[in-house]
Each structure stands twice: as structure tokens, then as C-alpha cells.
């Protein structure tokens, strides 16, 4: 990303995750996508009970296990070892996706390649001609969760906007995203389009707009 326009401090990945975590109330059922979204769990204190779901039939995940306490049969959808909180439960894949597709999850947080200001999300393939794209559970989550948030860098490594007026990559779901947390801002997706609710310290609205393809609005 070009840093010519201003002297500001982008949020780190941990800060992005922390900000999203702060917005999750107790009692929500939440699925965290592979990658940065997974970090969110680290910033939800255990005494604020948020129930984390994983596609592979795990409900009520706790933090990663200590190395000597790994349960070999206890992994999440990212194939990482996890722990189970008191109150957790296991189910099979059809039941697990019934939770997702039946609108029982309060929230899903995914990474994305692009988000459009009508809520479209593209996060599974970077070309119409991708030879063997891997969709996993992303389409189920995007179409099924009550709310979809995206956690991603504001632009690509070479400075291309990821918040766009129209996705150029193949869609994961149309009109699904409700909020985006980036390293530069928090942005709600509303009937008006993208509405900026907070920005990285030192960043101006114009700076943010310059890094964004779609038109931004102030809250």
C-alpha cells in the first residue's frame, strides 16, 4: 500500500481482531473463518461467553490447547487443534450445516478478496477460470448466518482496492456482508452503501477514500 498521503498507523491484525471481538456480545453463536478471523477468539475473554462453532461439527470451542494437552480428535475446520469448553457438543456435518444454513448462527466472520458496497462478497476464487477453486463452507456461511462480517486488509499487497463498487472475482454470495473490519477502518454495509464508523488513528476520510474503489459515506 502506498503510504504517501498521510502519517497514520494502520491497525495490526491483532487490533483488527480485537475490534471485531469487542463488538460480539455475550451469548452469540459465532463461526470464525480460516485465517485472520480465527484470531478474534483470542480477544473474547472466557467470562464473556461467546459460543464458537466450527463447520466440522464442533460447537463451544475454547482456546488452542497447550502442547501436552492436545486431543488428536479435536480439530476445527482449519484442521488446527482446539479445546472444548464446558457446555460444548459435537454433531455430524449435516447437523452442523443445519446450524449454518438454518440461520441459527448469530454471526460469521470471514476473510475476503473483495467486498462490494451492495454487500457482495468474493472470497473463494480469484478468477473465473480458476482451475480447481476450493469453496469449503464459505458459501453456506455467507448465505446462512444471521450476520456476515468480513475481516481483511483494506487493499491488496500491491495497493489494489478490495472494497469495490462491483466484485470482479467470482462471488461467494450476493448482498451478504453487513460490516467490514480492515486495517484502516470499520465500515458498515448499509442501503446507502459503505458507511465508515471508525478509522485508524491519523487517517483522514479522504485518505481512506483514496484507498477504496467504492464511494464511502460518513456515519
Amino acid at each position: 500500500m502506498s503510504a504517501t498521503t498521510a502519517d497514520f498507523k494502520p491497525f495490526t491484525r491483532q487490533q483488527m481482531a480485537q475490534r471485531a471481538a469487542a463488538d460480539i456480545p455475550e451469548g452469540w453463536y459465532v463461526n470464525l473463518g480460516i485465517g485472520i478471523p480465527t484470531l478474534i477468539a483470542d480477544f473474547v475473554p472466557l467470562d464473556r461467553e461467546v459460543i464458537f462453532h466450527s463447520e466440522n461439527g464442533v460447537l463451544g470451542m475454547g482456546p488452542a490447547p497447550e502442547k501436552d494437552k492436545i486431543e488428536p480428535w479435536l480439530i476445527n475446520a482449519g484442521k488446527q487443534y482446539v479445546t472444548m469448553r464446558a457446555g460444548g457438543s459435537f454433531c455430524h456435518h449435516a447437523d452442523s450445516f443445519a446450524m449454518i444454513r438454518g440461520h441459527h448462527l448469530d454471526l460469521c466472520v470471514l476473510g475476503a478478496f473483495q467486498v462490494a458496497d451492495n454487500g457482495d462478497i468474493a472470497n473463494w476464487a480469484t478468477s473465473e477460470n480458476d482451475t480447481a477453486p476450493a469453496v469449503g463452507g464459505a458459501m453456506d456461511l455467507a448465505a446462512g448466518a444471521k450476520r456476515l462480517w468480513v475481516l481483511m486488509e483494506h487493499t491488496t499487497k500491491d495497493g489494489q482496492a478490495k472494497l469495490v463498487s462491483k466484485c470482479t472475482y467470482p462471488l461467494t454470495a450476493p448482498g451478504a456482508v453487513k460490516r467490514v473490519y480492515t486495517n484502516l477502518a470499520t465500515i458498515d454495509v448499509t442501503p446507502r452503501g459503505f458507511v465508515v464508523t471508525s478509522m485508524a488513528p491519523g487517517l483522514s476520510f479522504d485518505d481512506l477514500q483514496a484507498r477504496t474503489d467504492a464511494k464511502l459515506h460518513l456515519a
Partner: protein
């Protein structure tokens, strides 16, 4: 701290609106949420659509709710349960609407609602009165009809054990429609014989995970054969 366990029947029944679709668990007297049905009678919501396998027995429970004129429609597979006197009188007098649904289609329609499936094809009922007016389609050489999901505003469920997250187990044939209805309603209210500490239920043995449950009331009523 998440705590779905409510202390009073009034809390359990709070907000049930007139005109609601209410899913009632149980098969025969087993796994039937009798206390919650009495609570609903007390609560007062009317013009209800009730989905249940039967249409009430004698003059208590669901039959009493109907007798009080609070049920405008019943969706069930078997209105001829033992002693269905209240239902039959109301039905003869045109005071209650009846939708007969094959038992498996009834279960599958609710499971579909819980799983985000708005409609599905089934062979059950093809070539019968049940298929009249329904979309028919031949798939791989057999004819099927299209059935729609049946979603509840409220489900009343009986469980054997529950914890404060709403995880449930059932006892033997007391499971029946209960887990299916629990996942099919916007607000699932449970009466449970036993309350367990969080973590006491084995995660491999939970049948209804708490994600499908909103409120739990402890009703240690004992043996269903008394009903």
C-alpha cells in the same frame, strides 16, 4: 454468563403472540411438554396454529387449549388419538381448521425449516389425496411431490436433562419430535426433568445443542404414564 434457565412459567411463556405457530413435542404422553402447555393456556395467546402429532386427548393439555377456543388451526398426522372428543366437536362445528400431514412429511418439513431448506421433494403421498394441488415431478424415474418447510414461531419441548447453555438430552422414546421441533422454531422453550451443571453433559451425548434452545424451565414431573 449465558443462562437460559428461567425461574418461572411466566418468564418461559413471555412474549408468545396471538397468531403464533406453535410446535408441540411429544408422541403420545411420552416427551410431551405438559407443564408448558398448561403455561401456554395460562399465558393467554390465541388464534394459534398448533403443529403436533396428535390433536389432543381428553380435556387436558392441548385439548383444553382447543376447548378454550385458542387454536384456530391444527397441523397433525393423527387427529384420531385416544379420546379426541374436543377436537372432533370443534372440527364438526367448523371451529378449527385441520391440515393432515403424513407423519414423516411432518417431521421432515420441520427438519427442513431448521436446516434452511424451504422446500423438498418426497415420494410420500404421491398418488393420494395428499398430493392434490401439489407440484409433481419425475426424478430418476419416480414421481415426487414438493413439500414446504414448516417453521414455528415457538416450540414447546420436553427434555430429560438440560444445562444453562440449553444443551439437551432425552430419555428413550421421549426424544421423538422434540429435537426436530427445537431446531425449527424461532423461540424454543424447554421443560426439563433434570438440570445439570455446565460441563456435566458429555459433548458426544448431547442430542439438541443449546444453539437451538432459548429458554429452559425445570419441571421435574416424573413419570409420563400418569398423563
Amino acid at each position: 454468563m449465558i443462562n437460559k434457565i428461567v425461574q418461572t412459567m411466566a418468564e418461559a411463556m413471555e412474549g408468545i403472540k396471538d397468531g403464533s405457530i406453535v410446535l408441540l413435542g411429544g408422541f403420545g404422553a411420552v416427551g410431551q411438554p405438559n407443564a408448558l402447555i398448561d403455561g401456554l393456556i395460562e399465558q393467554g395467546a390465541k388464534n394459534l396454529t398448533v403443529a403436533c402429532n396428535n390433536a389432543g386427548t381428553g380435556r387436558i393439555g392441548l385439548a383444553r387449549l382447543m376447548d378454550l377456543g385458542r387454536v384456530s388451526k391444527i397441523i397433525c398426522s393423527f387427529p384420531r388419538s385416544s379420546d379426541p372428543v374436543v377436537f372432533e366437536t370443534l372440527y364438526r362445528e367448523g371451529k378449527i381448521e385441520l391440515e393432515i400431514v403424513p407423519q414423516g412429511t411432518l417431521a421432515e418439513r420441520m427438519r427442513a425449516a431448521g436446516a434452511g431448506v424451504p422446500a423438498f421433494f418426497t415420494a410420500t403421498g404421491v398418488g393420494t389425496k395428499m398430493a392434490v394441488g401439489k407440484e409433481h415431478r419425475e426424478i430418476d424415474g419416480r414421481t415426487y411431490i414438493l413439500e414446504k418447510a414448516l417453521k414455528g414461531d415457538v416450540a414447546l419441548v420436553e427434555a430429560w436433562e438440560a444445562d444453562r447453555w440449553g444443551n439437551l438430552t432425552y430419555k428413550q422414546a421421549g426424544r421423538n419430535f422434540n429435537p426436530v421441533m427445537a431446531m425449527a422454531a424461532d423461540c424454543t422453550i424447554v421443560q426439563t426433568q433434570h438440570v445439570r451443571e455446565l460441563g456435566e453433559l458429555n459433548p458426544d451425548h448431547v442430542v439438541t445443542p443449546g444453539i437451538f434452545v432459548d429458554r429452559v424451565l425445570h419441571v421435574p414431573y416424573g413419570d409420563p404414564s400418569g398423563f
